[in-house]
C-alpha cells in the first residue's frame, strides 16, 4: 500500500474512554491527533491511564466509548491481529522457545509475507543483532532483548509503533544510549512512534510532541520546550521538571499584543508575567518560576541581570552536584524557594548556609497558574 498518494494517516483518538467493571475510569474521553511520522510521548505517573490508552490502540483492551482512527480507517473494534499497529512491550514479551531470528520472523510469517528471510536479515542488521540471530532470548542481555522486541515489531512496518515503557528495565547508561538510538531509528524508518513513559527526561529527549497525562485526562500537550517553559497546570509544572510556585494576587494588566503582561503582587513585590503564560481567570494565582531561572547573589551586591528583585532571603541548604548547585532559600514571607545554579565559578565558591542573599528572575520566564490547583500536584508521583 502506497501512502504517498493518500491523505495523511494520522492516529486519531476521539472521546476515547475506558471504564473497568469495578467502576474505575482509567481514561476519560480522550481526544488526540498524532500526525503520521511523528514521535509522540504519553507522559504520566503510573496509573494515569497512559498504558491503558496504548493497549486500546493496540486492540488488547476494548474501549468503553469513543473511536480510534488511522487516517480514515476506523480500527476501534478491530482485532489486535488485524491492525496496522505493533507494540514493543514493557517486559519485551519475547517468545522464549524461539530463536531471535524466529522471534523477528513471527509477524511476517503469520501474515504470509514472501521473502521473510531477507527481511529478517535486514531488520537484524538495522538493530545490530545479526550475531545473535541463532540465540534464544534468555541468552541475551537486557539491551539486546530490548532491541529484539523493537526488531520484532519494526519488521512489520506498522503504521503506528507503540512503545510501552520500552527502556524501563535498562540501567541508566544503557537507557540514555538507547534513547538516542531509538530517536535515530525513528528518523530513519519514518513510522509514527507512540511512546508511553513516566520518565520526563526520556519523553523530552525523544519526542517531538509530549502529552502529559494525569488521572485519565491529558493535562497539556506540546513540544518539550513549550511544556517546560509554559506549563498550564501545577501538575505539569511539577511533573515535568521542578517549579517554584508562590501565591500571588493579580493587580492589573499592561501592554498589548505580544508585550502584554499581567501584574501580580507577591508578598508586597509586584512582578510581571507574560500574558501568554497566564493560565487562570481568577485574581489569585500561583506565580511559577523554574529553579534554574532564579538568580542569587550575596545581599547588597548587584545582580547582573534585570528582573524581579527580592531581598531578605536566607540560604537554608545547599547541595553541590558538581555541574550545578541546588540551593533552598527561605524567603522573607516564610516560604521556600529553590534555586539551581550552574557552577561557572564566577563567585569563586558556594554560598554558605545561613547567609543572606538577594534573588531575581527575568519576568519573561515566569508563569501564572490557577490557584485552585494543588501546588503539590505531580510532586509525589514517580
Amino acid at each position: 500500500m502506497s501512502l504517498a498518494d493518500q491523505s495523511p494517516r494520522n492516529l486519531r483518538l476521539t472521546g476515547l474512554t475506558k471504564r473497568y467493571p469495578n467502576g474505575f475510569v482509567a481514561v476519560k474521553s480522550l481526544d488526540l491527533e498524532i500526525p503520521q511520522g511523528s514521535f509522540f510521548a504519553l507522559l504520566g505517573p503510573s496509573g494515569c491511564g497512559k498504558t491503558t490508552t496504548l493497549r486500546m490502540v493496540a486492540g488488547l483492551e476494548d474501549p468503553t466509548a469513543g473511536q480510534i482512527h488511522i487516517g480514515d480507517q476506523d480500527i476501534t473494534h478491530a482485532r489486535p491481529y488485524r491492525r496496522p499497529v505493533n507494540t514493543v512491550f514493557q517486559s519485551y514479551a519475547l517468545f522464549p522457545h524461539l530463536t531471535i531470528a524466529e522471534n523477528v520472523a513471527f509477524g511476517p510469517k503469520r501474515r504470509g509475507v514472501k521473502d521473510v528471510e531477507q527481511q529478517v536479515k535486514d531488520t537484524l542488521e538495522l538493530t545490530e543483532l545479526t550475531e545473535q540471530a541463532a540465540k534464544k532470548p534468555a541468552q541475551l542481555s537486557g539491551g539486546q532483548q530490548q532491541r529484539v522486541a523493537l526488531a520484532r515489531a519494526l519488521i512489520n512496518r506498522p503504521e503506528v509503533l507503540l512503545l510501552d515503557e520500552p527502556l524501563g528495565a535498562l540501567d541508566l547508561k544503557l537507557r540514555r544510549a538507547m534513547q538516542i538510538e531509538l530517536k535515530q531509528l525513528q528518523d530513519e524508518v519514518g513510522i509514527t512512534f507512540v511512546h508511553v513513559t513516566h520518565d520526563q527526561e526520556e519523553a523530552m529527549t525523544m519526542a517531538d510532541t509530549v502529552a502529559v497525562m494525569n488521572a485519565g485526562v491529558i493535562e497539556q500537550m506540546g513540544s518539550p520546550y513549550d511544556l517546560y517553559t509554559n506549563p498550564a497546570t501545577t501538575f505539569v509544572a511539577n511533573f515535568l521538571g521542578r517549579s517554584n510556585l508562590i501565591k500571588g494576587t493579580v493587580v492589573g494588566r499592561e501592554g498589548t499584543g505580544a508585550d502584554a503582561v499581567v501584574k501580580v503582587d507577591v508578598y508586597g513585590t509586584v512582578v510581571s508575567i507574560p500574558a501568554a503564560k497566564v493560565h487562570t481567570q481568577s485574581n489569585e494565582g500561583w506565580v511559577g518560576v523554574r529553579p534554574e531561572k532564579v538568580l542569587i547573589q550575596p545581599a547588597g551586591t548587584p545582580i547582573d541581570a534585570p528582573g524581579e528583585h527580592f531581598s531578605g532571603a536566607v540560604v537554608v541548604s545547599s547541595s553541590y552536584l558538581g555541574v550545578s548547585t541546588e540551593y533552598v532559600l527561605r524567603m522573607p514571607w516564610g516560604g521556600e524557594l529553590m534555586c539551581f545554579e550552574q557552577n561557572t565559578g564566577r563567585r569563586g565558591g558556594l554560598l554558605a548556609v545561613g547567609s543572606s542573599v538577594d534573588v531575581s528572575w527575568n519576568p519573561k520566564f515566569a508563569f501564572l497558574l490557577d490557584s485552585s490547583q494543588d501546588a503539590g500536584a505531580g510532586l509525589e508521583a514517580d
Binding site: 482485532r79 489486535p80 491481529y81 488485524r82 512491550f89 522464549p96 501474515r111
Partner: protein, 287 residues
Amino acid sequence: MGALQRVLLKHPAYFLIAPAALWLLVFFLFPFVSLLSTSLSDPSGSPITGYEMTFRFQNYADVLADYWPYMVRSLVYASIATLFCLILGYVLAYAIAFKAGRYKTILLVLVVAPFFTSFLVRTLSWKLILGDDGWVVGTLQALHFLPPDGRLLATPVAVVAGLIYNFLPFMILPLYASLEKIDPRLHEASLDLYANPIRTFFKVTWPLSLPGVVGGVLLTFIPAAGDFINASLLGNPNTQMVGNKIQQLFTTAGDYPHAAALSVILMAIIVVMVLFYVRRAGTEDLV
C-alpha cells in the same frame, strides 16, 4: 575417615543425595535384582520352598507366547486413556491457569480432592455409576446411544473410562504447572504480531506447555499400562490387562518366575517407549 570427610566437605551434594540413594538401593535396586533373578529361575519350585536360579530364559518365551494379547491390550487401553486424559486435562488446566481468576485455588483443590478417598473405593463407585440399572446406562438407552440390552459395566469402555478417571489428576497437575508459568503477555504479543487466537495457541501456548505435556503423559501412561484394578473391577475376562495376569501369576498361581518375567517385559517395553517419546518431544530443548 579423614579422606571421606574431605570429600564430603568438598562436595556437599553427595551428602544431600545420600538418603535418596540409600532409599533407592534398598527399595528399588535390591528388589529389582531379586525380580530379575526370580524371572530366570526354574518354575518347578514353589513360593514356600523357593526357586532355583538357572538362567532359564525360556520363562520369557513362555509368557510372551501365552500373554502377548494382554500386553497389547494394556498398551492400547493405556494409550487411549492417556489421549483422553490429555485432551480433557489440557482444556481444564488451560481454563484453571488462564480463565479461572480467583477460583483458581478452589478448582485446583477440587482436582486433587479425589485423592482423599481410596483408589479402590473410587473405582468401586464407578461400578455403581456404570451398572446395568444405573442412570447412565438408562439415559444412554433412552437416547438410543446404547441398544436396549446394551451395557457399560464389564466392557472395554468401562475399563478405559475408569483409567481416564483415575489418572486424570496426574495429567492435569503437570499441565497446569507449565501453563501457569506462561506469561500472558506472550499471548498478547502473539496477537499483536498478526497471529489469531488459534495460531497463537499452536505457535506459542502449545510449545511452551510441552514440558507439562511430556510430564503428564508419562505420569498417566506408565501407571495406566500396569494397572489391574480398573480391569478387574470394571471389566470382564476379555478385558484383562497385563497387570491382571501378573497379579494372578503371583498370588493365585504362585508361579513367581513367570510373573517376574512378565513384569520385566512390561517394564522394558515402557522404558523403551518412554525413551523414544522423550527424545521425540525434545524436552531438553525446552526452556
